[in-house]
């Protein structure tokens, strides 16, 4: 940054710059960090915590200073400083957590903040800083070598071995629920992950392929889920009949919503879908007679397998356990649902892969790359965007129906803005349309979300991640996806 301005960077310069950043940090935090609002009864009171502002300013200063040191080839020193701060913070936190209540006051003096969350946050930020500095330190060393050799590290396996590995992985996925180590809890997480992967893939059509920002994707998921629940409860529709209806309903809603908006600049879509997601949630909460309000819908019928039910056998031979001749257990249903969701995931995977090679898929990517050029070539941008939006919505609708069938209970709680952001984060992290990257990102994020202790931080982390990924690697943290046409051209040419 400073190299461009031509100023010589020296210690003094870095010092004053860090001082400036620290001052900014103190200004930003002065009221929000320095004071805490406490509702006591009807009156509102303040806790004074001004020392925290000083601590924030100090840590911001130190962090910025370390970054500056790295610029003037004192990287090793800054690495030591950051790891020292990190180690100090974590020991202090652990000490104050472990000591009993009575002697806590003494150990709390070691900690810079009285608010525990800030202590944690500072240590995590410094850990990140430490990793970044190490990365920079070693990158500088290796950059010359790699330039000379000009060799990219590529992981390519023999085609046959690749095939065998893929088949083995698929077999593992299919047989997973029958393994001994997989219990109900793990199976539940696996099913959740699969659902998120499918949602991520669906959204990747909209965001990754067509380049439209959909911030209310979860609304279509909700529509699918409620469609199945209501159809099966009120009209006795079976799961297999409701499933296509749920998808179609979500797609139709996508078209209705997308039609007025997609004619216009892309940014409008983002805010309209943002509002739409909130509206759907509001309708679900307030339309008590129809949707059950905040309590949601209970006792959604389980899907049947060829007309056989997953119920306890009553002797009339219409349950799955009697049909297959196995002992009845509630586990069977969850295994069945896992396999069902897995097969849907395969279906969606295959569908998107095929779609990308079809003219419509290429048109999506073309629209993303250059809309004006597309219009000049005679493509109709509105229709192309609309198909992408509706296809994404349809996949969310299917996933919603599966979700409702799997849980047996749905409520507006499951369809909040947070969910939309999580799915978007999966797509952004995974690399905007790269199916494997998205699957990997979904696994990572869902495991992160499963860590209950970090509940307070996870949304914060999602926000930070999205900003950083956009700045640092805008085409996805895990992988990137170039338009499919390029790939085809390099292998067999475009017909």
């Amino acid at each position: 940054m400073n190299i461009n301005t031509g100023k010589s960077i020296n210690l003094k310069h870095i010092f004053f710059q860090s001082l400036g950043v620290a001052f900014l940090g103190a200004v930003l935090g002065s009221l929000l960090i320095g004071f805490k609002l406490q509702s006591r009864g009807i009156s509102l009171e303040l806790d004074w915590r001004l020392s925290q502002v000083l601590a924030v300013a100090f840590f911001v200063f130190l962090g910025r200073f370390c970054l500056g040191l790295q610029q003037i080839k004192l990287g090793l020193l800054s690495i030591f400083v950051t790891i020292a701060v990190c180690a100090y913070m974590i020991t202090a936190i652990l000490l104050s957590v472990q000591t009993p209540e009575s002697s806590k006051a003494g150990n709390h003096l070691l900690l810079p903040y009285s608010d525990m969350k800030l202590n944690w946050m500072t240590s995590v930020i410094y850990l990140g800083l430490f990793l970044y500095l190490i990365y920079r330190f070693f990158k500088k060393r290796t950059v010359l070598d790699s330039r000379i050799q000009n060799k990219k590290w590529k992981f390519r396996l023999n085609k046959n071995i690749q095939m065998i590995l893929i088949i083995a992985f698929l077999l593992l996925l299919i047989s997973a629920p029958f393994l001994q180590i997989i219990d109900r809890r793990i199976l539940n997480i696996l099913t959740q992950i699969l659902l998120y992967i499918v949602l991520g893939w669906g959204l990747s059509i909209v965001v990754g392929l067509a380049g439209l920002l959909d911030l209310g994707y979860v609304a279509f998921y909700a529509v699918g889920a409620y469609a199945y629940a209501l159809l099966s409860l009120h009209f006795d529709f079976s799961f297999w009949l409701s499933l296509p209806l749920a998808g179609l309903l979500a797609a139709a809603l996508g078209i209705i919503l997308g039609f007025p908006v997609l004619r216009l600049r892309g940014d409008y879509l983002a805010i309209v879908t943002l509002g739409f997601g909130e509206i759907i949630r509001m309708v679900l909460v307030n339309w008590y007679e129809f949707t059950g309000g905040p309590n949601g819908i209970n006792q959604i019928p389980k899907p049947a397998l060829f007309g056989y039910l997953f119920d306890e056998p009553k002797g009339n031979g219409n349950t799955v356990s009697e049909w297959l001749g196995i002992e009845y257990s509630s586990e069977t249903f969850y295994i069945f649902m896992y396999l069902l969701v897995l097969s849907m995931a395969f279906g969606v995977f295959w569908f998107i892969r095929k779609l990308r090679r079809l003219p419509i898929g290429r048109a999506w990517e073309a629209i993303r790359e250059d809309e004006i050029a597309c219009r000049a070539l005679g493509l109709n941008p509105t229709n192309i965007k609309l198909t992408a939006f509706a296809t994404g919505a349809m996949i969310a609708g299917f996933a919603g129906a599966f979700f409702a069938a799997y849980q047996g209970f749905i409520s507006p709680e499951s369809f909040t803005f947070v969910e939309s952001i999580t799915i978007l984060a999966i797509v952004v992290l995974g690399g905007m349309g790269n199916l494997f990257g998205i699957a990997l990102a979904a696994i990572l994020l869902i495991f992160m979300l499963e860590l209950r202790d970090l509940e307070m931080f996870r949304m914060l982390a999602l926000g930070v991640l999205q900003v950083f990924v956009m700045i640092w690697r805008p085409h996805g943290l895990i992988s990137r996806r170039s338009p499919t046409v390029y790939r085809l051209m390099s292998t067999k040419g475009v017909s």
């Binding site: 930003l28 929000l32 004071f35 216009l264 926000g463």
Partner: protein
């Protein structure tokens, strides 16, 4: 009739708040062509700053209301515009010239980040603030009905008018306003003519954030409750107001805000309070269908 007039006044003051937020959206959109999703959160931070600043002043013993309000106003504007400046610097400036979706995703990330930052520091529970400005004057007294306007609403409306006059002067008369309009028209040309575009964009964010801060203060006075989630719905509504008035047009944003406020308060008075957010959203969709350029906006010409 009396009820209607009261709702109208209610809508006017609510609309003033929306209008002030909408100006931030419309200015940023006009100059760099992106929707600043984090703007609703800036408004929320403004409201929190106002509450805390007021309570600090009370603790320090400054209880005379006009003095306290002015100090709160100044402090809130200063601190909140620091947030606006920082957001632009961190999340948007590095992305100028990146692909189209990048600043939008960064903006939504920033919005989530700020929401949860405030939630972490100040807890999720809504904080109710005692009403500070009380009393009202009656406008019309007749046998059938009486209409009164509270000092609070009067304060909001007058403050908005004063701000708007000041702001219009700033844009039309000063050098800053001129360079801002220049950047809006053609950023490259403005750079060639020696305008520091980075500085102008930063100042745009600062102005937007300070107007949002005033809106936050007013919202705090008006509803008497703040929580970390309030910026979300207010942001969507203010954006709808900006679109209704014609995005990129400053008087349009104010007009759209006032119209939207009036529509919303009439809707909740005569139809349903639960679905009042739906009214704002329907306005947005209807405008996009029938008049995408808004009431005062110019049609957008896309150039290669």
């Amino acid at each position: 009739m009396g009820y209607f007039l009261e709702q109208l006044i209610n809508g006017l003051s609510l609309g003033s708040i929306y209008g002030l937020i909408a100006i931030g959206y419309t200015m940023v959109y006009g100059i760099i062509g992106m929707v600043n999703f984090a703007h609703g959160e800036v408004f929320m931070i403004g409201a929190f700053h106002a509450v805390i600043a007021y309570l600090v002043l009370q603790a320090l013993g400054i209880t005379l209301l006009p003095v306290a309000l002015i100090i709160v106003l100044v402090v809130t504007i200063f601190l909140t515009s620091a947030y606006g400046w920082t957001i632009e610097k961190i999340a948007y400036r590095p992305l100028r010239g990146s692909f189209r979706l990048a600043p939008l995703i960064s903006a939504i990330g920033m919005s989530v980040l700020l929401q949860n930052y405030v939630q972490l520091l100040q807890e999720a529970r809504p904080k109710s603030v005692p009403s500070l400005i009380q009393g009202n004057i009656s406008l019309i007294e007749s046998e059938d009905f009486s209409v009164s306007i509270s000092y609070l609403r009067l304060f909001i409306i007058i403050a908005t008018v004063v701000l708007m006059v000041f702001f219009t002067m700033l844009i039309t008369k000063t050098a800053l306003g001129r360079s801002q309009r220049a950047c809006e028209q053609d950023m490259k040309m403005a750079t060639l003519l020696g305008i520091n575009v980075d500085r102008v964009i930063s100042l745009t964010f600062v102005i937007g954030a300070s107007l949002a801060a005033v809106a936050g203060l007013m919202f705090m006075l008006f509803y008497g409750v703040v929580d970390f989630y309030m910026g979300f719905i207010a942001g969507v509504k203010a954006f709808s107001a900006a679109v209704l008035g014609g995005i990129g047009s400053l008087p349009g944003a104010m007009l759209g805000g006032i119209l939207l406020g009036v529509i919303e308060s009439l809707f909740s008075a005569y139809f349903s309070v639960e679905y009042k957010d739906l009214a704002a959203f329907s306005v947005l969709v209807l405008v996009l269908i029938f008049r995408p350029t808004g009431l005062l906006g110019k049609p957008e010409v896309e150039k290669v």
